[in-house]
Each structure stands twice: as structure tokens, then as C-alpha cells.
């Protein structure tokens, strides 16, 4: 069975959930091989976790340069392994960095790059969801090794036993003339709330919230549901909530089990970031708001009445 390479996304030896999703998807195409790129000692920390999601092989590409330069060490490692293993495909997470790694690797391997897949099929084709979920697309690589970036959360990770046989890969020395040097990192400080794109419930507020202080009503409902907080572009542009929480065409695309829109009119710009949510609930004063056209359950009313009452009800039901 042909190998399928998976680029491992890890922080300080902790493997991200999206990597397990990649390993799961890789097993539909062939034998999953994990490629670890990091400072010396990283592979030892992550090997067991990779084995539990079916990694038959673990390639260790370790060097001090690996974390000191942006993107290129990962491309170097994948290109080196691809050169010796002739994989059926290479899978990376469709994060900002993953998409860049995939693009550069496709140039190097002369292969086709398939961006932001939401599913990987046994015949090597992938499913994509574009224009904010308005179109479904099936595509495949026409030449060379397919390099696929897979949207985090799109495939459910399934455990499987893998041998995780370790193999060392030599990384070429980084060259500052062709790579940007990393002089410092400030990882995202995760609050108590789940990450927006990984959350199974998202509660978002829009212009109707009216001010930054009043966003508390959105946060309280989110916390009662164990949800992430989002905001529409109108709310972000008005300064009610930070830009990193923006949902929509120019912000994050979310696809949770439940999306609650509070005081959001539902402009096409916003819908592009959330219309693939499984269930949509909307509260808006304006009965004509377009958000109601796509809501599974809508309440025409003041969010400052409805949301606190819902927060109390959720708390009650939790006991």
C-alpha cells in the first residue's frame, strides 16, 4: 500500500487535533506516515499520540533550524520524504501556514495542490466547499503528487493502532537568503472559551448589540452553552469586539453544530462565514432581516430580552 504523508502540527510536543484528522483521512488513501518537523527531541514526545491514530511510520526531521525559520523547513522535510517514499498524496492542515507549505511543496514536486478540502475520497479526489459554502466541488490532481490541505474539523478523527516505526530524515541547513528568520513567537493565549473554528457551538453578536460593553450578553449566553463567541463585521467595524472573532467572508469560516446569531442582519458577507452550520438560531428585532431566511429557528424580538432568558433556561436545564 502506498504511503500517504501527513505533516504533524504540534506545539511543544502537543499534537493538534487536526493532525489526527489528517491521519484518519490518510488511511482512506493508503498507509499513514507522519512527518514531524521540529527541534531535536520533538518526535519522542509526539510518537505515541501519532501511533494511536494509525501512523505506520514516523519520519523525524529534527534540527535547531526547524523552528528558527518560517515554513521552509517543513517544505524541505516533506520534499525530502516525498523523494524517497513516492507517496500517493501529502496531507497538511488548511491553516494559514499549512496552505503555504502545501503551495510551496506543489511547486517543488511539480504536483497539483488541492486547497481547503472538506473530505478526502479513496480514489484520491477531494471534496471542497467554496464561496462560503454556496458551492460544492469535487477535484483531483491532474499531475504529480497531490498535495492536499484539509480544513480542520471537517473529518472526524478516528483512533487506530499504528506501528509508528521511526525513520530519521536529514534536514538541509536553512539559508537566510531564501527564508525568513523567526525572531520571536507569541502563541495565542487561549481563554476559557473554545477556539472559534473548532467550537461545536458559536454565539455571535452583530450591530444590534449596540456597544462593546453590551457584548457581555453575548458572552454570557456563550458561556452557558460552552460556546465560542463570534462577531459580525458590522460589530467588529463598530469596535464592539476584536477582529480575531469576526465571522464572515473576511473573517473566519465556521461550521459548528449550532450557530446562534444575535442582532445580526445576515448580510451575504456574514452568511459566507457561517451558512454551513448544522443548525442556525437567530434573534433579531427586524422581522425582515435576511438572517431569518436561513435560520432553522428564529425569534423576532429584542436580543436583550431573549438572550438573557435563554441563558437562564440553559443554566436551569443543566441543573
Amino acid at each position: 500500500m502506498a504511503e500517504v504523508l501527513v505533516l504533524v502540527d504540534q506545539v511543544d510536543g502537543e499534537v493538534k487535533k487536526s493532525t489526527f484528522e489528517l491521519l484518519t483521512a490518510a488511511r482512506t488513501l493508503g498507509e499513514a506516515s507522519a512527518v514531524v518537523v521540529g527541534t531535536p527531541g520533538t518526535t519522542g514526545k509526539v510518537k505515541d499520540a501519532l501511533a494511536s491514530y494509525g501512523a505506520a511510520k514516523v519520519y523525524a526531521a529534527e534540527s535547531d533550524d526547524a523552528a528558527a525559520y518560517l515554513v521552509t523547513p517543513k517544505v524541505d522535510a516533506l520534499a525530502a520524504v516525498a523523494g524517497q517514499a513516492s507517496p500517493a498524496a501529502v496531507l497538511v492542515s488548511a491553516t494559514a501556514e499549512g496552505k503555504e507549505v502545501a503551495g510551496r511543496l506543489a511547486i517543488r514536486l511539480g504536483g497539483g495542490v488541492l486547497v481547503d478540502a472538506v473530505g478526502v475520497n479513496a480514489d484520491g479526489s477531494v471534496d471542497q466547499s467554496i464561496f462560503g459554502g454556496a458551492f460544492s466541488v469535487k477535484a483531483k490532481a491532474a499531475k504529480g503528487t497531490p498535495v492536499v490541505s484539509l480544513r480542520p474539523g471537517a473529518v472526524e478523527a478516528e483512533q487506530a493502532d499504528g506501528a509508528a516505526a521511526e525513520e530519521t530524515v536529514a534536514l538541509p541547513a536553512a539559508d537566510a537568503a531564501t527564508s525568513a528568520k523567526v525572531t520571536g513567537v507569541e502563541p495565542v493565549v487561549g481563554g476559557d472559551r473554545p477556539e472559534l473554528t473548532e467550537a461545536s457551538i458559536v454565539v455571535s453578536g452583530g450591530r444590534g448589540v449596540g456597544s462593546a460593553e453590551k457584548f457581555e450578553v453575548v458572552e454570557k449566553l456563550a458561556d452557558s452553552l460552552g460556546a465560542a463567541v463570534g462577531a459580525s463585521r458590522a460589530a467588529v467595524d463598530s469596535g464592539y469586539y476584536p477582529a480575531q472573532f469576526q465571522v464572515g467572508q473576511t473573517g473566519k469560516t465556521v461550521s459548528p453544530q449550532l450557530y446562534v446569531a444575535l442582532g445580526i442582519s445576515g448580510a451575504i458577507q456574514h452568511r459566507a462565514g457561517m451558512q454551513t452550520s448544522k443548525t442556525i438560531v437567530a434573534v433579531n428585532k427586524d422581522a425582515e432581516a435576511p438572517i431569518f431566511e436561513i435560520a432553522d429557528f428564529g425569534v423576532v424580538g429584542d436580543l436583550f430580552d431573549v438572550a438573557p432568558q435563554l441563558t437562564d433556561e440553559v443554566a436551569k436545564r443543566k441543573g
Partner: protein, 261 residues
């Protein structure tokens, strides 16, 4: 003296309905209003700031059909000096690999560029990799997803912001930069700028002028193929109630019925 090339793309307006052509699954450019991609205006702004702080020239580089001239004029009216427009029917249906190669080829038309500035991700394809792929082809450092940029002499410093957090980057020119929405607020073109833009030079070139292998281009040369594409059935509106003082309770009942709480 810093010569800057700014990449500009014309895209369907995100506020209009976007479609694919039924015949070949390429972008239906006729169905939606075509505009300069918003993020490109920020790329132009950043280039102008660098130019204004010192010396240099800002060249707009655009790959796209003839009507992309509108996007180019917008960038020129903001203050860019000149433009190179790659327009060729052979490009129709080109994938990211081909696009990156064409842009790299077109940079040969920009005399001694020091810096390439692009948006981090186009709002239509959302591939988010062209700047990185371009850096790969050119063999220069990529400082992408910049929310802050500073240039001292030939040393470029960038604060990169992604879902992973902030990464501080440093490299020497020449380099490729991509900017995020946080980088700046783009200026509005002045009336004077709009008038001046009409007289600024726009060099229109074809693929044959760039030394790019035509076999890599367009739909036939694409290294990925779309097999099927279809609009998703629109979501239907569900139940709707008026809040008579029990809207929250009713919502809770609905969520409970759906086993969501």
C-alpha cells in the same frame, strides 16, 4: 530606493452572488460585480507608505482578463506609479501553480524589484498560498500574513499573525510580503489621483512575453482538475416566532428538542 511590486487581483464582489460556469467550472466573472480585492488596497497602501518614507517606485502587477484594468486603475489612482497587466486568453482556468509561475515571470518586467507586496488571501479562491509559492519560485524569503511591517535599509521586519498567534520575522530584501486586514487603513483616491491615474503607464503583456511554459497554463495545463461542481441547495427558513416575553424559553425548548442542550 525601494522598488515595490504590488499584486492586485480583480474578484467578484463578496456582497454579490458568486457562481461557477456550468461548462468548465471556472469562475463566472459575468454574474457578479468585479472589484479590486479589498485586501489589495491595503497592499497598495503599505507600498505607498514605504515609498513616501523614502524613495522608490510602486508598480502594480495584475494577472487577469481585460476588464481587470478597472482594478489596476483603482490602485494607480491611490498613488501607484505604473502597472504591468498580464492578459491572455490562454490563462483562462489557470490553477495556483500556473498563476504563481506567471506572476514570477511578470516580475521580470518590473526593473530590479526589491519587494513584492500582496494580500494574504484573495476573497474568491481563498487559496492563501500564492505569495508563498511566489517566494518559492523566486528563491527569496516569504514574510507573509503581516499585520505590521517595518523596513530599515534592506532589513525587513514583520509581525505575522495567524491562528497560531504572532510570529516575529526578519529577512533582507529582496523578499515577498503578504498583508492581513490589520496592516493599515487604505486611503481613498483623491480626485487628482483619479485624473492622474488615467495617464499613468500600463504595460499590457501576454504569456509569450514572459517566458513561461504555455503547457502549464490554462485549463489544459492545470495540475488540478475540477470533476464536479454544483450549487448547494439553499437553506430553507425554519420556524419563526415573535417574542411575547417567552422567546428565550421557546428557543431553549427548540434546542432541547434538537438535543443541542
Amino acid at each position: 530606493m525601494t522598488n515595490i511590486a504590488v499584486l492586485v487581483k480583480q474578484v467578484p464582489d463578496t456582497y454579490s452572488e458568486r457562481k461557477l460556469n456550468e461548462s468548465d467550472h471556472t469562475l463566472d466573472r459575468e454574474s457578479a460585480d468585479a472589484v479590486i480585492d479589498e485586501i489589495n488596497e491595503r497592499a497598495v497602501e503599505e507600498a505607498l507608505k514605504i515609498k513616501e518614507a523614502g524613495e522608490g517606485e510602486v508598480t502594480v502587477l495584475c494577472v487577469g482578463p481585460d476588464r481587470a484594468t478597472d482594478a489596476i486603475r483603482k490602485a494607480l489612482s491611490m498613488g501607484a506609479d505604473k502597472a504591468v497587466h498580464v492578459s491572455d486568453e490562454a490563462l483562462q482556468g489557470s490553477d495556483m501553480v500556473a498563476t504563481a509561475k506567471v506572476i514570477a515571470g511578470a516580475l521580470g518586467k518590473v526593473d530590479g524589484y526589491d519587494l513584492v507586496i500582496a494580500g494574504n488571501e484573495a476573497s474568491d479562491g481563498r487559496g492563501g498560498a500564492i505569495p508563498a509559492m511566489l517566494a518559492e519560485i523566486l528563491g527569496v524569503p516569504q514574510l507573509t500574513h503581516a499585520r505590521e511591517l517595518s523596513l530599515e535599509g534592506t532589513t525587513l521586519k514583520v509581525d505575522r499573525e495567524t491562528e497560531d498567534g504572532v510570529t516575529h520575522l526578519e529577512a533582507n530584501l529582496p523578499a515577498v510580503v503578504s498583508v492581513t486586514e490589520k496592516i493599515n487603513e487604505p486611503r481613498y483616491p483623491s480626485f487628482k489621483g483619479i485624473m492622474a491615474a488615467k495617464k499613468k503607464p500600463v504595460e499590457t503583456v501576454t504569456v509569450a512575453d514572459l517566458g513561461v511554459d504555455a503547457g502549464d497554463l490554462g485549463l489544459p495545463g492545470a495540475s488540478s482538475t475540477v470533476l464536479e461542481a454544483a450549487p448547494k441547495p439553499p437553506r430553507a427558513a425554519g420556524e419563526r416566532v415573535d417574542d411575547d416575553g417567552d422567546g428565550g424559553v421557546k428557543t431553549a425548548e427548540y434546542l432541547s428538542g434538537q438535543k443541542l442542550i
